[in-house]
């Protein structure tokens, strides 16, 4: 085996192979930067080039691209709050907060270094896991995979910032959205209301970029100047590396979880990154900073997110079951060379397997290194006001979302989800569980259904894997209950924690700014109505198809009901307090009056800021709708040419010269893009 490993390494010294690898790495990095294209885009652009090549250079190129796509897709998530994939949304939690505190450079260097280590460990893991993969995959039946999906959604709901009820409600809303489309078990259409477009389900990229990306544009476009003070990092790269090294245990743990999760077909990639985040939070002594820019929240998931790619190659090659579109295309490429995936690949094509391992390792290092070198200039992006970035970002994100299905409807869905994301964000509902719920809804239903119909009664519950996952799920809840009980016997720790939290939250003006207002009550009530509606509609499905929607809707009704009750109670309490003040003030009770006069102006300023945010959001979403109408009429390029100068002149108030140059550059990029990347521009009626 070692002989094959070294001969594969020696063959990589061949300059032509190295060039192919470099081409792949560069293409992967560039495509990863554009939110929404991701690995699929990278492989799709490179695949046609590989026809007619020998398998070795072709593989080197494709693996090079796959290994680094998740390195550079961090950039949009961290700097712009626009994750193009479900796994990038995890890095976003802490990375974006850190960037908003002016530490974009620090966040990026931590992420890139972790990606590199994750890729390297992933490559090593790939080698070691080959003999273990078969028993591992075979020991994971439908019940275990079902528990894994539950674990993924619950971890996201519990660990995201905000209270658990809000997290659960968001996760269940995501699950409900994920159920739109054709049922995996009976092939009947659910919640599609007769539309063939909806019967396909909603596109992941549209959800990720809508709920996060567009909501971010809408909430920040009002700012015409940058308000964050960039924090100067002294010591440059050296200090970045030094800080990263202090978190080395998290890097290794994240990478190991990533490999393990990537090996499991179907659910691994998404759940894996969350498991990595979950273990980082669970094992940390001081959890207060998570979600607000904790380096450990970046390091673990980011390292997992690259090693998942390596782990994913194991089921792809050994069982012919790809974990995603990119690995499916890789599989197709191997097939055209007459290389059949299957257990025999390890004996028949060992040299190729090692070539893949080495190419993966080299590409991870090279890709992360290139990104690391560029952090300084990338971080400068945060100095450009969002109002100016807005139209360009909008055009790029919508184009990215269009690529998945080639449907204009996806873009409308994306804008609608942007509005939803805006309100979720403003009312302090975590959006990450929403996205994870959306991604895992169908696998969860599939594996639940298979478990229920392939196992007798509840015998599956006693399987060791299921019990282990259940323990993972329940243990943290019990632990926190125990801690709370102990603390209840008189400790000030809790109050201390709250103080910290509220001080930090001011970093983001919109996040949670509408909490405890009629708006947040409205969101809770809307959630109740949605779940109730879903419950009602699901009554018309066949027995098998209505099981999951019903469970989700009932769970959602409970969670959203509790949330509504919390909101009402909070409002009552607030109203009662306000009433007290009103009564107290005339009486001249000194303390209360002091408090009242001090509080009122602050409330006014906050209410004003809130109204301003809402106005800006409404206007921005209206502008997006206008843009889509323009696209429908005149096509993408024409719409961009009209929309961009309009937005820049009136909304961003840039100089006319800037607007003209900006628009011309954007137009030229759009014109050139289809011939450079596998990108289609939406066509209008006039075209």
């Amino acid at each position: 085996m070692t002989e094959a490993a070294f001969s594969a390494l020696a063959s990589l010294a061949d300059p032509s192979l190295l060039i192919m690898l470099a081409v792949g790495v560069v293409a992967g990095l560039v495509i990863g930067l554009i939110p929404g294209l991701g690995g699929t885009g990278a492989v799709a652009i490179l695949l046609p080039i590989t026809f007619g090549m020998d398998p070795e250079p072709a593989l080197a190129m494709l693996i090079g691209a796959l290994a680094v796509v998740h390195t550079s897709d961090t950039v949009a998530a961290v700097l712009l709050g626009a994750p193009g994939s479900a796994s990038a949304s995890v890095t976003m939690l802490d990375g974006y907060s850190m960037a908003r505190q002016g530490q974009a450079k620090r966040a990026l260097s931590l992420a890139f270094l972790s990606s590199m280590a994750g890729g390297l460990i992933g490559a090593v893991g790939l080698t070691l896991a080959i003999p273990l993969a078969r028993p591992l995959v075979l020991s994971f039946g439908s019940p275990e995979l079902f528990m894994l999906t539950i674990l993924g959604v619950s971890l996201a709901a519990v660990l995201s910032r905000g209270n658990v009820v809000k997290g659960l409600t968001a996760g269940l809303l995501g699950l409900l959205l994920g159920l739109v489309g054709t049922s995996p078990t009976t092939a009947e259409e659910r919640f599609s209301f007769g539309s063939l477009f909806l019967s396909d389900g909603i596109s992941l990229v549209a959800v990720a970029l809508g709920v996060f990306g567009l909501a971010e544009i809408a909430s920040r476009v009002g700012q015409r100047r940058v308000t964050e003070k960039p924090v100067e990092l002294s010591g440059g790269w050296g200090s970045g590396i030094r800080e990263w090294i202090t978190h080395w245990t998290h890097v290794i743990r994240g990478a190991l979880i990533g490999i393990w999760a990537g090996v499991l077909p179907g659910v691994g990639a998404t759940a894996g990154t969350w498991l990595a985040y979950g273990q980082a939070v669970a094992t940390a002594k001081d959890k207060r900073k998570f979600g607000k820019g904790d380096p450990r929240g970046i390091v673990g998931p980011e390292s997992a997110n690259n090693s998942v790619e390596a782990g994913d190659l194991i089921p792809t090659f050994l069982f012919g079951i790809p974990g995603g579109v990119p690995s499916a295309m890789l599989l197709g490429m191997l097939l055209t060379y007459g290389i059949q995936p299957g257990p025999a690949i390890v004996t028949d094509h060992l040299d190729l397997m090692y070539l893949i391992v080495w190419a993966f390792a080299i590409a991870s290092v090279a890709g992360a290194f290139l990104c690391f070198l560029a952090t300084g200039s990338l971080a400068k992006l945060t100095k450009v006001p969002f109002a100016v970035l807005g139209p360009g970002l909008l055009v790029v994100m919508l184009l990215g979302a269009f690529q998945e299905g080639g449907q204009l409807g996806d873009l409308w869905v994306m804008v609608a989800l942007g509005v939803a994301g805006f309100f979720l964000k403003a009312t302090g509902m975590p959006r990450a569980p929403f996205l994870i719920g959306f991604v895992l809804a169908i696998p969860m239903e599939r594996y639940y259904y298979l478990t229920a119909s392939l196992y007798d009664g509840a015998s599956w519950v006693a399987r060791p894997g299921v019990l282990a996952f259940a323990a993972l799920l329940v243990a943290p809840v019990l632990w926190s209950l125990v801690k709370r009980l102990r603390r209840a016997s008189g400790s000030v720790d809790d109050g201390h924690r709250d103080e910290h939290a509220s001080a930090d939250e001011d970093a983001d003006e919109l996040e949670g700014s509408l909490a405890r207002t009629p708006w947040s009550l409205g969101v809770a009530v809307a959630a109740v109505l949605l779940f109730a509606g879903a419950l009602w509609v699901s009554g018309s499905f066949s027995d098998e198809a209505q099981l999951m929607p019903r469970l989700v809707a009932l769970g959602g009704l409970a969670a959203a009901g509790v949330l509504t009750w919390q909101e009402i109670r909070a409002r009552r309490r607030g109203a009662a307090r306000g009433g007290d003040r009103a009564v107290d003030a005339p009486a001249g009770s000194s303390g209360a009056t002091m408090l009242a006069t001090r509080v009122e102006p602050r409330l006014d300023a906050r209410a004003l800021a809130r109204r301003h945010d809402l106005m800006v959001g409404a206007r921005t979403f209206a502008a997006m709708a206008v843009f889509l109408v323009l696209v429908m009429v005149g096509g993408y390029l024409a719409a961009t040419l009209v929309f961009t100068p309009l937005f820049l002149l009136y909304a961003a108030r840039t100089r006319p010269r800037t607007a003209i140059i900006y628009t011309l550059v954007l137009g030229a990029v759009l014109l050139a893009l289809p011939s450079l990347l596998p990108v289609d521009l939406p066509m209008g009626l006039l075209q």
Binding site: L335, I339, A638, L649
Partner: protein, 399 residues
Amino acid sequence: MTQHVEEEDVATTADEDAGSAQDPPERPAPTPRLAGAVLAGFTALAVGVSVLGGDFLNPAASTADGDYSGETVEMMIPLAEGGGTDTWARFVGAELTEAVPGSPGLAPVNDDGGEGILGTNHFMTSAKTDGTEVLVSTASTVVPYLLDMPSVRYDFNKLRPILANGTGAVVYARTGAGVRGVEDLVNRDKPLIFGGIAATSLDLTTMLAFDLLSADIDATFGFEGRGPVNLALQRGEVDIDYQTTSSYEPAVEPLVKDGTAVPLFSLGQVDEDGEIVRDPNFPDLPTVVEVYEKLHGEQPDAEALETYRAILALTYTYQKALWVPEETPDEAVELLRSTADEMGADPAFQKSAAEVLGGYPLDASPDLAERIGEAYRVDESVREDVLELLETDYDITID
């Protein structure tokens, strides 16, 4: 531009906590005249781009002259990147366009809406009829067409085939479930559990085979693909499964060798005379018809056999095909077809394409249109049989 913005920001970044409510004085809105001029300029450009640009960049194709030079063939693949059909289409498409006189470019377009239905509908209504747009068909678009699902707005009788390529499949079972041979398919105490994706997918043909044999099968649908079913069989979650020819060797053969699984029969192939014959890739495995004779000692019911034969031809023997719109000029269709025919006969192509074609020839002979047309003209009685099976056995109604 970025440079300019930065300078300004460094200068004006003030320590403000109250947010945008109290912005420092900002640049006033541009004068209406200036803004109007800028907008008018871009609008004119936009109109120019959208109206003129299209014609300017895409001149009309000339493909009826026996030469495709300078053209680009757009290939509509109505499924996602990376699947078996996508791989097949990209490979065959690339080889074909290279062989066509003038070596046109190839632009594969993946439109995976509605499991292939949306893309095919779209092709039907908007494809150019000059021979530069080609459609890929496969089981996922053929079965809904066969079942006449309401969302299907395409008609293969209104398209012209260029080439076709078939595949086959083998049904195998887990020895751990007490299956030693085909005799164990019937008269069982406990039905065999079959793992499937959906009854309205390629699984349909296998379901028809089980129905024909009156095998004791309990089908559970909902799997993600055939690979996961194969794994579930190895775990013992399901008892019986089928794999198509290309995945049989890597996925099933090792199991047969170590005794965990036993191959039972092949679905067979429909030959040029319309008879069900043994699969050339599995000459040692009996067909469904032979198994029936062995189990029941007589020929299967003629009507049921006809239904099975029609569906087998449609979903396996002519499973994948390339099509052009009906109005495409004869010269262009003939040029593409004859090129494909020569290519299919070329030993070098046969060798490089062996894996992708799955051991079945690339069929582009002159009578292809006739044979494929016959296979795709599904009798109403066949359709009714299938719909009845779906409704009675699997509780699926198609309206």
